[in-house]
């Protein structure tokens, strides 16, 4: 077992912040309470004896067993010590899936957390730019890697085609991007109205149009 687990337990003594630890295929896995995650990772990153300076991966796992909580996985590596540690957080699926972002610690977490948000619907508090990344921003079928998401998607093929054909042209640029170029004022008035009402990317109802 990786000695970092003992160090974590020693440093965070109060109230079960560090949960169980186990080994799987030679890798050490340690469970951390969701509220303590940023502090635990900061401890692992900053303490000279730990020195886990390289964030390998951030991802999530949802088990087929619906009772089991959703797990967030933070794979750490120490470049100097060549040591590996996998930190996991369990999120109860019956509650809001929210956790603090670790972008302040590693910039690499920016896109990785966006991917987890996109695919699993976990919100990261304090993330500078939490948008969908692989799916388009107005995608409304849900979060594809969740187990209750069917392999072929939620909408029928005809519904998907209808939505694709009805996509609003302004959906290609975000509000932020439009404001950059001051192109906002050159848009047609009705488009600006809809943007101002935050209706970007909404599919117009075929009956009313």
């Amino acid at each position: 077992m990786n000695p970092s687990v003992q160090a974590l337990r020693h440093h965070f003594e109060e109230g079960g912040a560090i949960g169980r630890a186990l080994e799987s295929c030679g890798d050490t896995i340690v469970y951390v309470q969701a509220s303590m995650l940023p502090r635990a990772l900061e401890f692992l990153k900053v303490t000279p004896e730990q020195d886990y300076d390289y964030l390998v991966d951030v991802t999530a796992v949802e088990y087929r067993d619906a009772e089991r909580p959703l797990e967030l996985v933070y794979e750490l590596f120490s470049l100097r010590r060549r040591a590996q540690l996998r930190v996991k957080v369990e999120l109860d699926k019956s509650e809001d899936l929210v956790i603090d972002s670790i972008v302040p610690l590693w910039n690499a977490a920016n896109w990785l957390e966006r991917e987890v948000y996109d695919m699993f619907g976990v919100r990261f508090e304090g993330h500078p730019d939490l948008r969908r990344i692989l799916m388009w921003e107005t995608y409304s079928e849900g979060h594809p890697l969740r187990k209750d998401f069917p392999l072929r998607g939620r909408f029928s093929r005809s519904e998907q085609v209808r939505r694709a054909l009805n996509m609003n042209p302004e959906a290609h640029y975000s509000m932020e991007e439009l404001s950059i170029a001051q192109a906002y004022h050159e848009l047609p008035a009705d488009m600006r109205d809809r943007l101002a009402r935050d209706e970007r990317g909404k599919v117009p109802d075929p009956e009313s149009s």
Partner: protein
């Protein structure tokens, strides 16, 4: 008639003592060449920022990458990348496939180096199962990994050269790549979608003529590298376009979790082959090239030298290639030979069970990284004891490297954005998965 003088800068004032092109800091307006523009109306220069959309269908974005760029004149203020145009849902699909069926999905991720993806998948599943593969299989997989590193770097070098205006090296690189593709075709029957590995072994042993073909390649390929070396490495345009462009310091590179040549160009000597050895890489004699400036030029040098080192590894692998089986003898993992399955009852049952039910893995999880051509390529499997994974996750090096584009391109010229994007060596199949 009013005359208006507009002063503009040259990109460089010449070479510094190290022979690297010196760059003027952006915003310096009182040096360099002077041009004169005449006209009655003064043009409206300065002022509004411009929004430029590049891609998703653009040759210089190396795939379906879309960049929304905020420009102040020609200087990039901000880059907002949009990805996902090639999203195929491989991770979702993998949860519905047996382990050996996932091999075909991995071909389509990093399609410029399919064999190293195949190898990584097989190694990850074998780690999950605690399986030891045969010696011959290990050496053959090393050959597969290094061949794919070479073809991936060749595509990178050729396309980067073409982005920066040099056409000839592109043809040389693709000519050499074609020879590797011929070898790949000889071995696996496919040029692009190789599906080389199976859990516990390979889909086929190397055919007659492969070994001599590979030796011939190892002997003549460095000549082409030398030609490209003469053409590019000391080329004034190549240096001016790459040196000092897209700099990442060592701390920044680690903070952004860059990997592969991107990380090593910044001076961090982390290579999975050396630091977390797999496939007995620790027993091969090769060097890890490390840069010191962290710019696009050092990335070029690192990749260039890596190809020479790959040739060294290939030669050593050929020298030590042992005889023996390529698949483990466990009948629950490897398919029995066809003749046995047709004549022997037990072999037929194993054959049937494996095809219909797949390979069952123990409960647990495994993350296995390899040094792919783009960087640390890792496969993460979570198993609940059935023949299909609960979670199939790829740690995509190109995705994580691409995330640093916005940081690197800030403050550079629009044309440098193309050079920076090229220096990352992305392949969208892997970024979007």
């Amino acid at each position: 008639m009013a005359t208006r003088r507009i002063e503009f800068n040259l990109a460089t004032t010449g070479l510094d003592p190290q022979g690297r092109a010196a760059r003027l800091p952006l915003g310096v307006a009182d040096r360099g060449g002077v041009g004169i523009l005449t006209g009655e109306d003064e043009p409206q220069l300065g002022g509004d920022h411009m929004l430029v959309n590049i891609g998703p269908q653009h040759p210089a974005t190396h795939g379906v990458l879309r960049l929304v760029v905020e420009l102040d004149g020609e200087v990039v203020v901000r880059v907002i990348p949009h990805i996902g145009y090639l999203h195929t849902g491989f991770e979702k699909l993998g949860e519905y496939r047996q382990y050996n069926q996932i091999v075909t999905l991995t071909d389509r991720m990093d399609y410029l180096a399919p064999m190293s993806n195949n190898v990584c998948l097989a190694l990850a599943v074998e780690k999950l199962m605690g399986l030891d593969i045969t010696e011959r299989c290990k050496v053959l997989r090393v050959i597969a990994c290094e061949l794919s590193r070479i073809i991936s770097h060749l595509v990178w070098m050729g396309t980067t050269a073409i982005d920066l205006g040099a056409f000839t090296p592109f043809l040389w690189c693709f000519q050499e790549r074609e020879r590797v593709y011929d070898l790949q075709e000889m071995w696996t029957g496919a040029r692009l979608t190789t599906s080389l590995t199976r859990v516990g072994g390979l889909m086929a042993d190397i055919p007659d003529g492969f070994e001599s073909g590979l030796r011939e390649f190892c002997k003549t390929f460095p000549n082409t590298l030398d030609e490209v070396d003469v053409m590019l490495t000391r080329n004034a345009i190549w240096c001016a376009r790459l040196q000092g462009i897209g700099i990442m310091s060592a701390e920044e590179a680690i903070n952004y979790s860059l990997s592969g040549p991107m990380l090593r160009a910044s001076g961090v000597p982390y290579d999975v082959r050396k630091d977390r050895p797999y496939l007995d890489y620790e027993s091969y004699d090769f060097e890890i090239p490390v840069g010191e400036h962290g710019d696009a030029y050092d990335r070029f040098l690192c990749r260039f030298e890596e190809m020479r080192q790959s040739v060294r590894i290939l030669e050593q692998a050929l020298d030590r290639l042992p005889d023996g089986p390529i698949n483990v003898s466990d009948p629950r993992v490897s398919l029995p030979p066809k003749t046995a399955a047709m004549s022997d009852m037990e072999a037929m049952i194993f054959h049937f069970k494996q095809v219909m039910e797949g390979i069952e893995t123990p409960v647990g999880e495994a993350y296995l990284p390899i040094e792919g051509p783009k960087g640390e390529l890792g496969y993460y499997f979570v198993s609940d004891g059935t023949a299909k994974p609960v979670r199939f996750r790829v740690r995509p090096p190109a995705f994580i490297n691409l995330a640093s584009l916005a940081k690197m391109a800030e403050g550079h010229l629009l044309s440098d954005l193309i050079a920076i994007n090229a220096s990352i060596d992305i392949v969208m199949g892997e970024v979007d998965r």
